[in-house]
């Protein structure tokens, strides 16, 4: 993928300092989750292209394993892709996942679009990460090349900043981080 192509798209994910757009999406065939339900806690939003694809598999397996660390920050993690609730259910069962996968299914990709994390050409979500503070403000965002598992170090650093454990991530100072791309 051309560097310039990536750079152009990078500017589309919502940057730090932006209020996170609210949404309600299905997590199971009979349950919807609304973003504002999580006010009062940091929220990690993980947009990813598809259940079952190998890189996603590794990425969700990693986050699944790091849940105890995320919980130390009181943070919730939500996965979002355009897969249906039934697909999510099968994937979560197969991988023994312990966090919700939300279905951005109808209208397809609507929430991903709100966050600037939708690939029009491909018809699925970008591989993009957002860390929201307890008031629903985006404090860190990152767009990964679609075939690269971005790991969790950026998420944990952002949560550290929110918890005041290191240099504060005020929206201004972290904007550069959020926009920064590392191949």
């Amino acid at each position: 993928m051309a560097e310039s192509d990536l750079a152009r798209r990078a500017s589309t994910v919502l940057p730090p300092g932006t209020p996170a757009p609210d949404f309600a999406l299905s997590s199971t065939p009979d349950q919807q989750l609304r973003l504002t339900d999580f006010r009062g806690r940091p929220v990690i939003l993980v947009f990813y292209p598809a259940d079952w694809s190998p890189v996603c598999g590794d990425q969700v397996a990693l986050y699944n394993e790091i849940l105890p660390e995320f919980r130390e920050y009181g943070a919730e993690i939500l996965g979002i892709s355009v897969d249906s609730v039934w697909c999510h259910a099968a994937f979560a069962r197969d991988r023994n996942l312990h966090f919700p996968l939300l279905s951005d299914f109808e209208p397809k990709g609507a929430v991903s679009r709100l966050y600037g994390a939708y690939r029009e050409r491909d018809g699925f979500s970008e591989r993009a990460l957002f860390v929201l503070d307890k008031d629903g403000m985006i404090r860190w965002s990152y767009l990964s090349p679609v075939d690269v598992n971005p790991g969790a170090d950026g998420i944990l650093n952002a949560l550290d900043s929110l918890a005041g454990k290191s240099a504060p991530a005020k929206s201004e100072s972290s904007r550069a981080d959020g926009a920064e791309l590392r191949p």
């Binding site: 590794d58 397996a61 990693l62 394993e65 991988r95 312990h98 598992n149 170090d153 950026g154 944990l156």
Partner: protein, 191 residues
Amino acid sequence: MSEGRLTPPVSAVDHAAGPDNAPVTLVEYGDYECPHCGLAHPIVKATQQALGSQLRFVFRNFPLAEAHPHARLAAQAAEAAAAQGKFWEMHDMVFEHQDALEIEDLLGYAKSLGLDVAQIARDLEAGTYAKRVRDDFRNGVRSGVNGTPTFFVNGVRYEGSWANKESFMHALREAAGQAGRGTRPTAGANG
């Protein structure tokens, strides 16, 4: 995502094979039940053989236990063997028997290696090395490890292919050459 720097650097608490002042330190974050790590195991062995005293190899635990239910116990068994001076023997044994990692299998390996089996059983039962294994995992996450195996060469994440033995060895020899041409390598300097 990550800057790809190994944190913390290699130190005396690590399991290391090869001289401390070797020009190349190869660190693997691995999972004993991960099939890719199983494939990487003989390749790492081959690089150790080929590079000899040029290479120091360090193994750190990165069990993805939700996906690999035996990985954590196997890692603890290797740590318990380390306490009896036989980390690498158990490490090899486990990687060579990835399909048999129940507790009785692990104790069987301990027995065949001449370890104090009752002690290993107590260590596994009590989770004596659970924290050590988890600490490795947490440090790995902070270093940008996103799956297994992940390798670091002289403290920098290795992005190339390990599955191709020749190109992997070439990268390690290059690193050895660079270390040789640069400042004189000292123990831990490349961490």
